[in-house]
């Protein structure tokens, strides 16, 4: 049975088509969810894609968290539904309080677009269940505010509960503990700065993103 993935479209999102193309290249079915919707609809998983929701004005994700769909996403997540925020989507999830911490401007104060090496740090999230702990992945990053920050107590909790999902091998943005992605306690809500959807075809330079989105698609249909 095909996994249906809802991809939320905020005004200013721009990776929504890419997320759908990647999901469909892995055998899933992708559909857009307009940010003004009150329900996520009949989907098995939700992706908050990259881009600049509401222009990133004020602060990335700060306005998007008030979009009506975010109440529905929070409800879906509370019911155990898999939710993955990629890049701007990760920023939205932290602003919405679905994940702890915040994404600051990169060390160096420049936008960075390049391909980096990641290490899978935890396999108990919906995005990494099919990967091996310690597995190295080459995945593009593309952000200005990707410098993950949290207080020490939060970091201790994240580490103790095995919620650091991905780490940079060579920290490109100053992130605390080289964190590239984290999950909530249950592992069904994941936020990451790298773009796995950009690494699903060898023609584009890497298909290491397939193991991540493939994990998401392997969650049982709801």
């Amino acid at each position: 049975m095909t996994t249906r993935v809802g991809v939320v479209l905020f005004p200013g999102s721009n990776c929504e088509h890419d997320a759908i193309e990647a999901v469909e290249s892995l055998g899933g079915k992708g559909e857009l969810i307009w940010h003004g919707e009150a329900e996520v609809g009949d989907v098995d998983a939700v992706i908050l894609p990259g881009g600049f929701a509401h222009g990133d004005y004020l602060r990335p994700g700060a306005i998007a968290r008030f979009s009506p769909v975010m109440t529905a996403v929070a409800r879906f997540a509370a019911e155990g539904g898999p939710v993955v925020g990629i890049c701007n989507g990760f920023q939205v999830l932290t602003e919405a309080g679905l994940l702890p911490g915040a994404l600051q401007k990169n060390r160096g104060l420049k936008f960075v677009c390049t391909t980096v090496e990641l290490e899978v740090s935890s396999t108990r999230s919906v995005l990494t269940s099919g990967a091996a702990a310690g597995q190295r992945l080459r995945i593009p990053i593309n952000h200005f505010e990707g410098n993950y920050t949290c207080d020490e107590a939060t970091l201790r909790t994240l580490e103790a509960e095995d919620r650091v999902v991905l780490r940079y091998v060579d920290n490109p943005n100053g992130s605390t503990a080289s964190i590239a992605g984290i999950s909530n306690e249950a592992g069904n809500v994941v936020g990451l700065m790298p773009h796995p959807e950009r690494a699903c075809d060898p023609l584009l330079g890497s298909d290491d993103g397939r193991v991540l989105l493939g994990s998401l698609l392997s969650v049982p249909a709801r």
């Binding site: 005004p11 200013g12 721009n14 990776c15 088509h17 890419d18 193309e21 990647a22 881009g51 600049f52 509401h54 222009g55 990133d56 004005y57 420049k110 936008f111 960075v112 677009c113 390049t114 593009p140 593309n142 200005f144 773009h195 959807e197 950009r198 699903c200 075809d201 060898p202 023609l203 584009l204 330079g205």
Partner: protein, 737 residues
């Protein structure tokens, strides 16, 4: 006493007299303001139009040629590709961040107004030297502006150029190329047809920013810094989020067939958009100033009509579709209001409000078709005395014993700039910036994958064109075509951005005319139609014209893009082959100009027939997968070409048989370096012979040293350091406005 009003607006006395003749009376202030922006150099091409007619513009696959928002070709499989290039030189000189940002915004609108989704931009950039603090300020601001706007609006930036030269101090060149894709049947042209149809203004409110941008900024040179600062209010301010919503709203309008025609508001704002759509459709238009949403109270009608506020589009809509148009706009949170009505008869009337006072009444077509056309005087620059010529000729320089230090001084990685740009959005980017050409999968949101691809390259060379604008421009076209051939593509279309000095200088007009002739000759010989262009004149500061800098963008089609084409890399234990012959001439080379400050001498020869054979061979090699690495030989000659291949792969080389520094640094055209396994290299050698392309073995690859016997012996690590650190180290010295 004050000067006459028309002169203050940038119109000459003769031009003012023409307006009197057209109207049969004196124009009022609003009318004069409208003529002044539309007859500016920027909008009317009055100095260049006559010459541009000499370019070849036709081919069976060309759907739209020059003169529209963008050129469009048929890429097959029901997909059309739109391409355009523009300059935003003057605004970027005055306010680098916003100047560059709005350059990106403006060209994107040109594409989606035709129904194309913009899927790639490229930025050929030129600045004053890195040791000049103000040039560094401009560089930082321009790159941040492109990054800030382009990333947010969601169009990947897939390549460009970064060039530094003293001739651009005070007048940087900020060109931007944009490529869009669309289903062929979504193509629309900016035409207002159907009496009673409505003109709907979409997007931002109209403010006082950018008033007279085309006449104040784009059509005059630069003097002192204080005067430049005073021009800052003529630079527009960009809002990429507004533009992103505008893209989605407009493409949806066109998908649903709700607009008869769409035009963006760029230079000359509402005046240009209303008069152009009306005159192209053979109609007139009534425009209601009161219905234009403003940012501030108290704006005069001429300000509303000439404002260049960004992120605005004009859609021509049948009355029955208006409700749906407004609904689509509302969904995307885009402001929309009816600001005019299409009329019969050809008059553009500006009314205070519907049925209100008529503020201006002029023939719409006169703003375009009656624009002045100048055949400005040309004069070949005076030849230097034999003694001066000899002193400026790099042929007379002593040979450096060790060429290593000169090679290191020519290395600068542009990654500092392109890492700040999203270059991967839409999952099209097969080859990112840094290679010969950007390689993209053909496709984009809403279009099927076809297994085919596009290659795109932008190129310019002011050093060549300063010595000989005709041959230099032909060489630039040849190089750009070779770049896309190295990606396995067949060149299918060219756009140009002609950056020149003050056209009132006869030497500059001569350069422009010669350059167009060189471009035409190369395009005809190589079978590449020119589908669009832009002319940027008055690139001068403190009375000095820039070197002639025609920039070309060449688009190539790749029939089968199943695997990545060879990159400019080396493999361990490979063999190196040079395709083409080196003419050991240094005139116009980076070694002559950048290292030794010698701008004279003669250029190497270009044989377009030989070049055509090389293009065919290189394209085959790129497609059949036998070459491991492939790179055209251009700026910096063989020395820099081989070093770039080494740096990209971390593999060294040892080359023998290069006679001297002139052979090493010569930029003679029609050459490429191939790296392949030994057996494959033999096969390629025979293939080249059969194709009538000269080929020679240069040496082998491997290890961690860069060796050219008798001339260069460097460690890869030293080259890497020079390559990586040149630009960041220079910028670490700080900037000054």
């Amino acid at each position: 006493m004050d000067q006459p009003v028309h002169r203050a607006l940038g119109l000459t006395d003769d031009e003012a007299a023409s307006i009197d003749r057209i109207l049969g009376r004196h124009p009022n202030y609003l009318e004069l303001a409208m003529y002044s922006v539309m007859w500016s150099e920027h909008c009317s091409y009055k100095s260049s139009r006559l010459h541009l007619r000499r370019l070849p513009t036709e081919a069976p696959w060309v759907l739209v040629g020059p003169g529209e928002g963008a050129g469009v070709i048929d890429a097959g499989d029901g997909i059309a590709v739109a391409l355009r290039i523009e300059s935003h030189n003057h605004p970027s000189a005055v306010e680098p961040y916003q100047g560059a940002a709005t350059g990106v915004g403006g060209i994107i609108r040109d594409l989606f107004s035709m129904g194309a989704r913009p899927v790639a931009v490229m930025d050929p950039l030129r600045f004053g030297p890195l040791d000049d603090p103000r040039s560094r300020w401009i560089l930082e601001g321009v790159v941040s502006g492109i990054s800030g706007y382009g990333n947010s609006v969601g169009v990947p930036n897939v390549g460009g150029e970064l060039v530094f030269d003293a001739c651009y101090t005070g007048n940087p060149l900020v060109n931007v190329l944009c490529l869009g894709v669309m289903p062929k049947d979504r193509l629309v042209l900016a035409r207002a047809t159907g009496v009673g149809n409505l003109a709907v203004l979409l997007g931002s409110s109209t403010g006082r920013d950018g008033i007279g941008g085309v006449s104040v900024l784009a059509s005059a040179g630069f003097g002192d810094a204080e005067a430049e600062a005073a021009k800052r209010p003529s630079v527009q301010v960009g809002d990429p989020f507004e533009e992103k919503r505008l893209i989605e709203a407009c493409l949806q309008l066109l998908d649903e067939g709700l607009a008869v025609g769409v035009q963006d508001l760029g230079g000359a704002g509402l005046t240009c958009a209303t008069s152009e759509t009306a005159s192209r459709g053979g109609m007139g238009m009534d425009v209601y100033v009161s219905e234009v949403a403003r940012r501030e109270p108290g704006m005069e009608p001429f300000e509303v009509m000439t404002s260049e506020s960004q992120e605005r589009m004009l859609a021509i809509v049948e009355p029955g579709n208006l409700d749906r148009v407004l609904e689509v706009a509302r969904q995307w949170e885009v402001r929309a209001s009816v600001v005019g009505t299409v009329t019969a008869g050809g008059s553009l009337r500006i009314l205070e409000r519907p049925d209100g006072e008529v503020l201006a009444d002029i023939p719409a077509a006169s703003l375009h078709e009656d624009a002045p056309l100048y055949d400005r005087p040309q004069a070949e620059p005076a030849r230097p005395t034999p003694a001066d010529a000899a002193a400026d000729d790099p042929a007379n320089l002593p040979a450096p014993g060790d060429c290593g230090p000169d090679l290191l001084a020519l290395l600068a990685d542009p990654a500092w700039a392109y890492r700040q740009y999203d270059h991967q959005l839409f999952l099209n980017t097969v080859e990112a910036p840094g290679a010969d050409a950007a390689v993209l999968r053909l496709g984009g949101p809403g279009l099927p994958r076809t297994g085919r691809g596009l290659a795109l390259s932008t190129d310019g060379n002011h050093r060549w064109c300063a010595i000989d604008p005709k041959l230099g421009t032909a060489m630039v076209v040849a190089e750009s075509a070779l770049n896309v051939a190295c990606a396995g593509a067949k060149p299918a279309a060219l756009v140009n951005c002609l950056n020149f000095g003050n056209p009132e200088h006869p030497e500059v007009m001569w350069q422009l005319s010669q350059s167009i002739d060189g471009m035409g000759e190369a395009c005809r010989s190589l079978g590449i139609p020119v589908i669009g262009g832009n002319v940027s004149l008055y690139n001068e500061s403190h009375g000095r014209d820039i070197d002639p800098t025609p920039i070309v963008g060449v688009l190539g089609l790749i029939d089968h893009l199943e695997r990545r084409p060879p990159s400019p890399i080396l493999i361990d234990d490979g063999r190196l082959l040079l395709l083409g012959e080196t003419e050991s001439v240094l005139g116009g080379s980076r070694w002559a100009v950048d290292i030794n400050g010698r701008r004279g001498g003669t250029l190497p020869a270009l044989d377009l027939e030989t070049h055509g054979r090389l293009l065919d061979l290189v394209r085959l090699l790129a497609n059949d997968g036998v070459a491991a690495g492939l790179h055209d030989v251009s700026e910096g000659g063989l020395a820099v070409t081989l070093t770039e291949m080494a740096l990209r792969s971390g593999v060294g080389f040892r080359v023998a048989g290069i006679a001297n520094h002139a052979e090493l640094f010569s930029e003679s055209p029609s050459r490429a370096v191939v790296c392949a396994e030994p057996d494959a290299a033999q096969a390629i050698f025979r293939q080249a012979q059969a194709a009538g392309v000269p080929a020679a073995f240069l040496g082998g690859t491997g290890g961690d040293r860069l060796v050219v016997d008798g001339l260069v012996d460097l460690s890869l690590a030293d080259a890497e350091r020079a390559w990586r650190d040149t630009i960041p180290d220079a910028l670490a010295a700080g900037t000054a406005n």
